[in-house]
Symmetry: C2
Subunit: 547 residues, 2 copies
Amino acid sequence: MKVIIVGGVAGGASCAARLRRLDENAEILMVERGPYVSYANCGLPYYVGGVIKEEASLLVATAELFRDRFAIDVRTGCEATEILPGEKKVRLRDVKTGEVSEHSYDKLVLSPGAASIRPPLPGIDLPGIFHVRTVPDVRQIGEWIASRGAAGTAKPSAVVVGGGFIGLEMAENLIHRGFDVTVVEMAGQVLTPIDAEFAHLVQAHLEKHGAKLALNDGVAAFEPLDNGAIDVRTKSGKAHRAELVILAIGVRPQTVLAKTAGLEIGALGGIRTDGQMRTSDPDIFAVGDAIEVKDFVTGEWSLVALAGPANRQGRIAADVIAGRDARFRGTQGTAIVGLFGAAMAWTGVSEKTLKRLGDTDYEKLYMHLNSHAGYYPGAKLMALKVLFRKSDGRVLGAQAFGEDNVDKRISAFAMAIQMGATIHDLEEAELCYAPQFGSAKDPLNFAGMAAANTLSGDMPLVHWDTADTGFLLDVREAVEVAAQSVPGALHIPLNQLRARLGELPCDKEIHVICRSGQRSYIATRVLLQHGFKAKNISGGVLTRAMR
Amino acid sequence: MKVIIVGGVAGGASCAARLRRLDENAEILMVERGPYVSYANCGLPYYVGGVIKEEASLLVATAELFRDRFAIDVRTGCEATEILPGEKKVRLRDVKTGEVSEHSYDKLVLSPGAASIRPPLPGIDLPGIFHVRTVPDVRQIGEWIASRGAAGTAKPSAVVVGGGFIGLEMAENLIHRGFDVTVVEMAGQVLTPIDAEFAHLVQAHLEKHGAKLALNDGVAAFEPLDNGAIDVRTKSGKAHRAELVILAIGVRPQTVLAKTAGLEIGALGGIRTDGQMRTSDPDIFAVGDAIEVKDFVTGEWSLVALAGPANRQGRIAADVIAGRDARFRGTQGTAIVGLFGAAMAWTGVSEKTLKRLGDTDYEKLYMHLNSHAGYYPGAKLMALKVLFRKSDGRVLGAQAFGEDNVDKRISAFAMAIQMGATIHDLEEAELCYAPQFGSAKDPLNFAGMAAANTLSGDMPLVHWDTADTGFLLDVREAVEVAAQSVPGALHIPLNQLRARLGELPCDKEIHVICRSGQRSYIATRVLLQHGFKAKNISGGVLTRAMR
């Protein structure tokens, strides 16, 4: 059996190594257009920032290793130019010599990845404008910074175009390198997969650490300046001077090759595969950033350019080629981005996606919880949003932002969602607890309890966007209200509530406010049992601050 | 309805607050023998160590708060001396005045906790010997240290009797306070819930940080010395001088009261309850450290003195009393202990428990994985053991030790076990990944893949205890073998294996060794496909070092 793998990074490299482990006799040829296989894409911004010091660290496994250890014929600087599916052949071109050769295959695996989007804007090819997709990309950025640094700009400026993962990670790393950084983003928020209120937290955190954000604004043109810098002109008419421009607008599946082969392409522009990574041609498989995958939670097709799913898909393709029964269950979109000591992480579905799908069978709640026991030093507040089904309590998604142990909670949520957990399972979750690691009731437990109280009717919820449809009652302490009041709210501290029920209206729905939603929950319980109509404003004034 | 709650710490306090939230009209009396309700037991060692600076930080919720916020009648310094179940009455005694009163109840909740075991050894009552169970305990320890410090011992010594959670946490905190600490433990290992090889890691880590361990040795007597210090005499005949002795031998459910009421007591000495926290008397509930609970994984009764389950049980008792349908699903024994920057965490069943139960339908594997991507600075090696069912792949238990992000992995394992996940679910887990937080294949994914390879027969495993029944093949690099050889093993570096197969015996089972088990897995695959009998020694020499 001869297997040709096109693309030697995450998905392709995983596939090649797994296939060899399953089949010593297969003839395996892996070609990679770039100079390196199996490099650490996710580390590239940190190499620019100097966090990862050696370029060699980025090379997870070399071509030599694949040859020596796995007996795989690896050709770097070699691109596939055409597939001839009828003849089961692929044409390969040596990038350096231009020499073209034809190779037959029994099975072909496409792992071409995705290419950085490069809009045809005036000046897009000016020197000083870079992508962050390959090792040569970041090497060039490093050389550019070093040479410009020698030119002696006191405080150089950079513009990052695009506020996604890579854009924000580059913004952080360039600030570490001493740049004045502006992120230009066409959308109204950074990190489009997450809901706006969490993007607001991320944005405030970025600004606190010196990043400038230009949202709702796209780049119109890049204009060269006399001193070699670039004026980044935006659609709104602004100009941002930059010694360095990073294009991080997003990526687009590399499907030229797949299209020449007549393979089915999905509506999102990715290669369509079945659960076993097979394309519409049964002898051609596709994995990684170039393919569309089913979202495990929504059932929708989606594009997910992440290393984790790519690695799993490569492995599954190898299993299937070797005659095993493996299947990709889809993705649930788990992701995390670390920024200036904080992390934004999410898993499952967002509220904006539920709204786009017209799904109304959900409730959400906001919580603001300590990362570990409050009495043990160093606990940090974590903002958490949980989405769950009203009809059956199934957990649909979670988003969290904070400076400590956010990855732990979203990973536990990810496992819960994968396994079809309900909010009641969260109530009973038994996670690691010691005071430096968590709380006797973990944030997942609290979320489950609060969600269960909501579904049982014990804690009707209202959210800030409709909070003013009711009578506002603020149950915080006087000192908190003095520091940050809620206009129009009657103030009765929680501990005085039972004695002052007479001050409240019997005919209006009372919307109860506190700092994080916990005291207002207690107040809601008191009010409901005394015959009032009451709802808890989820997440209190800490959630209001996210709007 | 009148509800009396005996015990006002974790379980009792949770029950009281929840009951009030569900029922404004219930008459709730909560009595606590000690001076404080709802204090942070788990923080006590860290207060001794000075990590938690203020005693007030340990008081999570005060009696005043329970009165003002929850309208609960709280009496501290008040103990229940007798239950009269026929009359539905309980006798309460004021600890200070000795005054006894009788109170009727509709429902009674027992949350008496567990008492530190205090063996009747000679000298046990000497000054300088302390428990760590209550706020007054640690206050006394602090005062003792302060007064002895003034007496001017250059390097004071402490003996901690017992190598469980509290004992080890106290050892760490006393070392922080400048003590020379010896832990005397009767068993052959610290932390008896975990398997011996992980205890060895913990022990080595403790010793590296200055703790002395006297295992397999019990205390025989405490003898006063002239200078006010104590000679801790052990059964083996040793003597350890100590300015301070901490008794952390373990705890025993407080069941005197339950016994007077004729409630059913289990074989382990804890109060028996049903899934709704009801004792054998339907009007009496019991929660927390005093009760026996079902182990969710083994189905066995067990004693679990942990805050998380206690809090959940208190909540469930309140729900049931208020007429809700709540049920405790049992415990899976998730726990973590932080020690000198490292953490030992576990969830589910241990191998020693499986052995005790005579359960042979399990396989285990050892892994040594980076806490995050190896190319990003700061990754730490984590030792991981996973137990899973041979017959159906269900995950049974996991143990991990390391200096970074151990809690995250064991929490994800805990969620997986709770939801009945198999190793195939671990293969597909989609946890948070960015290079500073994890790896594209998380330790859970690697564990799932390795376990699946084992069950499919692709990677037969052997463990060190029987490794020498086969022909030993070491596939590490020469430099590694030079640093640490495995006696009797033939050395062929992995990358030379295919060329040197002729050096291997066809008639013997080859047991393959590398550092962590990954290269030896690849070698095992090569050998099996070339017709050799081969098994991978799980976890390589890193696991050998745990023996």
